[in-house]
Symmetry: C2
C-alpha cells in the first residue's frame, strides 16, 4: 500500500495537523492488521507515518492511548447516523453499516484489539458510548415523530450483541442482510 | 493464592496426569488474569505450576495451543447443560450460568484473550462450537417433548450475543437476572 509522503513544511497548520493525524491513524491500522496490537509502538508508528516520534508523544501521550484513539475513531466514526424517516429504516441501515464495516479486516482487527485488551478498557467503553449515542439519536427522532420506540439498552445489546458476537467469535462476520433481519426480529418482539 | 505442591512422584499415573493438568491450567489462568496473555510462556507456566517445561511441550506443543486449550476448557467446560423439563427453564438456567461465569475476572480475562487474538482463531471457534452443541442438546430435548423450538443460530446469537457484548465492551458483565430476561424476550418473539 503506498503511503503518501508527509508534508511537514505545509503552510496551513490545520491542513498539516489533519494530514499528520491521517498518516498516523493509517500507520496504526496497518500495524494492527499486519502484526497485531503489540506492534503498535511509537517508534514503529512514527517511522511508518513519516513523522517524528515527539509529534506522536505530544499529541497522543503513549502507544496505548494512540491505539485507543484510532480504534474509537475507526470503529464508530465511519458510521453516519441514518435518517430514513422511520425507526425500522434507520436501524436497518445502521445495522447493515456496522456489519459491513466489520467485514473490513482492518476494522475487525481493531475491534478484536479493543475487546481483547484486559487493562485498557477505555477504548471499549468509548466505542460502546459512541454507539449508544448513535442509537439514542435514532430513538429520539422516532419520539419526535410521535412514536413510542423500544427502550435503548435492550435494543443496543439485542442488535449489536449478535453482530459483535459473530465478528469476535465466529470465522466470518455477520452478513449485512442478516443484520437487517435481526432488526426486524427485534422490532417484531417489541411492537 | 497458595498453589498446591505438585506431586511428581505420585504412584497412580492417571492421578498424576490429572494433577499436572490442573496445576498447569491454574497457572495459565493466573498469569492471564495478572498480566495478560503475553505472560503465558512455557517457562513461566512451568515455574508457576511446578512442572518441567518439557512436560508442557510434550502435552500442549506450544504456549498458544496451551492457552487455547485452557480458554476453551474454562469458558465452556464449566457449564453443565441444564435439564429442567422445559426449553424456557433450560435456557434461563444456561443464560444465568454463562453470565454468572463471566462475572469471574479470570474467566473474563480468558474470554478477552480468545476474542482478541487476531491470529489464533481456533480457540474462539472452539468455544463457539461448544456453546452451539450445548444449545443444540437443549433444543433436541425440546423436540423430543413434541415441541417446535426456535432455530438454533438466531437463538445462539440472540442469547449469547448480548451477554458477550456486555462482557467484552462494557465496564461490567451482564447481571444473571438480565440474562434470564433476554431469554424471555427471545422466546416471546419466536413463540
Amino acid at each position: 500500500m503506498a503511503t503518501p509522503a508527509p508534508a511537514p513544511q505545509a503552510r496551513r497548520p490545520g491542513g498539516r495537523s489533519a494530514r499528520i493525524r491521517a498518516a498516523v491513524h493509517r500507520a496504526v491500522e496497518e500495524l494492527v492488521a499486519e502484526s497485531g496490537p503489540d506492534a503498535v509502538t511509537v517508534p514503529a508508528v512514527a517511522e511508518r507515518a513519516g513523522v517524528h516520534a515527539t509529534t506522536i508523544y505530544r499529541r497522543w501521550n503513549s502507544a496505548p492511548e494512540l491505539l485507543a484513539a484510532v480504534a474509537v475513531s475507526r470503529l464508530t466514526g465511519d458510521v453516519v447516523v441514518p435518517d430514513t424517516g422511520s425507526l425500522r429504516g434507520d436501524l436497518r441501515q445502521w445495522a447493515r453499516d456496522v456489519a459491513a464495516d466489520l467485514g473490513d479486516p482492518d476494522a475487525l482487527a481493531l475491534l478484536r484489539t479493543v475487546a481483547g485488551a484486559a487493562t485498557e478498557r477505555g477504548a471499549a467503553n468509548a466505542c460502546l458510548q459512541d454507539r449508544r449515542q448513535q442509537l439514542e439519536a435514532m430513538l429520539e427522532r422516532d419520539r419526535e415523530r410521535g412514536e413510542e420506540p423500544p427502550a435503548l439498552d435492550p435494543l443496543l445489546e439485542g442488535l449489536l450483541g449478535p453482530i459483535y458476537f459473530r465478528a469476535l467469535l465466529d470465522a466470518a462476520p455477520m452478513a449485512p442482510a442478516r443484520a437487517e433481519a435481526v432488526v426486524d426480529e427485534l422490532l417484531a418482539r417489541t411492537a
